[in-house]
Symmetry: D2
Subunit: 291 residues, 4 copies
């Protein structure tokens, strides 16, 4: 199985690297060429353009967002020139609207589309420990399972409809954002009554909230340590927007997501958009005059 | 150390039982007498009234709420007749307003007040595995530590000011309520796109959200299983009210808590007040027409 | 009809003044004596204490809030010593909880209770142009109608239950607060796109929103002119709290009121509690980095 | 001045009719032909297609929304084939994003773009009493002023940037939606305490809220009378979305708009999308179990 790989940001580069390590032939393409070098050193082939990258058995895309995916896959003419039988594994976090559009366009073209977004940040990707949410034709997923295994610790199968994987990823990110806001409000509350946020977070993450998301983000929030950004706040705003859009498309109000959106906008307006998205937890301190 | 114990609901009875098992002499009192029997069978002494229960070295109160505490401890004349030197361990979840009032009244009377609210429900209490949040004079806490050890797996020390323990408990309950709402909204979202909430919850609680609070409540929410009530929704509404009040007293806005209050009120209005408080997760289904 | 009058703040003094002008004998009492002088000059009699003020045919109370009403009327022993047959017109804005309590206590004592809160600020009170919301026994209201006519331009009759007048007043204040927030958010929105808030407000108040509340508050908001305070922001926070409490007592979620509460708390935390409550409109500017 | 007119829904037909009455030559075009007849009877010329309609001195567009405008003006090739010097008056309510795009595209083409959205519904349009918000090159506006005068009672000049008119219209609609929600919550609150919403609304609209928007919508809300739809709820949801988008583009959080969006979504989910948008006021009754 020869692989094309589109999008070599932190995540994509780590994932393509693991495919190379597993012995696959991988043709890589990225908008800016500077991230190619380390992969070429590992044996990757430089694809000339997106169209070229699609001339493989399987193409994997890990592009930044809807706009990048639209530009690289559709506007470039890549999908339009793909040969029937190709399997495309879309691993970025995309809107439900774009996923629906992609499903239709791939079907027209005879290309199989698998949505396979992931949980895990760059370090997890490098370690090959991603959790992969896969949805698409079962046979096709079975066929590419070895590739998914090279990139992730576990593949969660979500059925035939790519939308299912997309919405699980979107809802998962919404849960993380809600956890950040919850800790932010709680920390501001206990602090206002003289309790050190660190001690509060330690208690909670040692007991009921002893989960990775709280253990990772809790101390950052307690210590107001928001850089370097493992995940930029503006991306968090984008992701909460994806949740709101996914809700709106099925008439599902999400009041927590609405609060998150408003607070993230405030954070951006106050200049914190490039900080880690835990900087959302600055807002409750600011609003209560404790900043 | 002889102990008086006020309030023998599910929690109080379990805790008094563990003190008896540890060999302490415990005089118990409860508003309704029917919960006394099992404890008397274990060797407890029946106190005649709250005043009588306070005629011990230490008195522990585990009354339902502010109103019950006020009635049993203050209106009954119990605190007013307590002898100086008594140590009172208040283990219920009380408002910051009442705690402040109690601190002052105990000081006037020469009675030591320790706030020691707990995390854990009835089964945890029975197993002696509570997490205890203790704040008050260090020496007094050290003195009663054996009692706390008989009831809990760990005591978290929060300094000299009883308010600190109260606010940590209140903020912790707010975090749990937020987790329920978050799962409820997420479940409604994925369901609207054809994904089984159970599968979504399984993925999240196996990965980033692998913590007791999510593993306990998640499946109940996914399966919409809200009775029997381990913690009644009306009590959850009361607890979110405590968070809002604690915030208001220090001018800390808590927008998630405001959303929670509105949704819990809706749940009560729709007749779900006596269900388990995970029934909060019914609201997003109802609002999106998926009920 | 001889009248006792409790509470001579800006509103009470203006109202008592109009009763004097209309030729009534008025015994006045106030917590601090300094506001008495001008009324005594107009012919008022100084009541010795609240008990003394209740030794009249009718007593009118216009005290600051629940706490003041409770202290002056109940804790002082005034109501407890009132003679049956007295009519008490409560004109302050009180909580539905206190109103219910007062109704029961007055009934026990054989005193008639009429709730008659008002719309209008000090200048309107001075001009005798208040809108009065009256609820209580019809016969009693008919009897005191001349007094109400001396204070207001119109009495709106709301039936026999004093709660009805209270809740209309509370809901009305909530509507005003919502109008302020609405203008504040709108002004921040148009400003961010380069439109002068003043021009926007002028357009809206000349057309669809051509009502006193918008014409009065709109320009203050557009020009960010928040002092002198015609109605202090902390009182607005209190009034929104009354709406939330009135809703909670009947399980009516009020999401706009929740937003208002959070924003008013933020305003207080940022030091604006003593400004006019239109300063609520500062928050949207602050949150969007336009302050 | 010969005029092309695109979009003959209720609003467009009424406006084009007034231009004909004022003696102008108007070539009309509509997606579906059935609305043309009455205008042709009044002397209008049938344009063959949008391209044809743009072969005039001035073209006015009053299309349903962003999508319709994009399709009729851009995708059809109409703008691309317009001759320089044409003045286009865009009178629909469009997003700030599309307005920005249109401004750039018109400039490229040498066509003058004036944004001139309106306040007023069909009956107001028919009477020629619209309030018109106009922004664009001052000279061009002066030139078309007679046309605007034929359609509206007043033109509010908002400067050179078409965005300014767009955002004032969007903010105005947000204010109306907030007024509806405010009345809906208030009505649910007073009703829960036994007060007739009609009486409450009568008091408020006779006093502080004596403005067209409250007098028009208030009784509909009090009487829960939501059809026929003067403005469909789904359009209200679209308009609140325009406000949220306009805010997001400048990082202005609008918490009231977020609440409105969630409640409007709930209304659509419950099947009320085709009712008048005052049906938003059903939600507070439903949430409080009073439906």
């Amino acid at each position: 199985m020869n692989i094309g790989f589109l999008g070599l940001g932190g995540m994509g580069a780590a994932m393509a690297g693991n495919l190379l390590k597993a012995g696959y032939q991988v043709s890589v393409w990225n908008r800016s060429a500077d991230s190619l070098k380390p992969l070429l050193d590992q044996g990757a082939i430089a694809a000339q353009d997106p169209i070229d990258a699609l001339r493989n058995d399987v193409v994997i895309s890990m592009l930044a967002d809807d706009a990048a995916t639209r530009s690289v896959l559709l506007d470039s003419g890549a999908l339009a020139s793909a040969k029937p039988g190709l399997i495309h594994i879309g691993m970025a976090t995309l809107s439900v609207g774009l996923i629906s559009e992609l499903v239709a366009l791939h079907r027209e073209r005879g290309v199989t589309y698998i949505a396979a977004p992931v949980f895990g940040r760059t370090d997890v990707a490098r370690a090959g420990n991603l959790n992969i949410l896969a949805a698409g034709p079962a046979e096709a997923i079975a066929q590419v399972q070895p590739l998914l295994d090279a990139m992730g610790q576990k593949t969660w199968l979500l059925g035939e409809d790519p939308l299912s994987a997309a919405v699980v990823k979107i809802a998962g990110n919404f849960m993380i954002a809600s956890a950040i806001e919850t800790m932010g409000e709680s920390a501001a509350l206990v602090k206002s009554h003289g309790v050190e946020p660190s001690q509060f977070i330690e208690i909670m993450t040692s007991t009921l909230f002893n989960a990775p998301v709280y253990r990772n983000y809790g101390p950052q929030i307690a210590e107001q340590r928001f850089s370097p950004a493992a995940f930029r706040l503006v991306l968090g705003l984008k992701d909460v927007g994806l949740a709101l859009e996914a809700g709106q498309s099925r008439h599902v109000p999400l009041p927590f997501a609405s609060v998150l959106r408003d607070s993230l906008l405030e954070a951006v307006a106050r200049g914190d958009g490039e900080l880690d998205w835990t900087a959302l937890a600055r807002i409750p301190l600011r609003r209560s005059g404790q900043d």
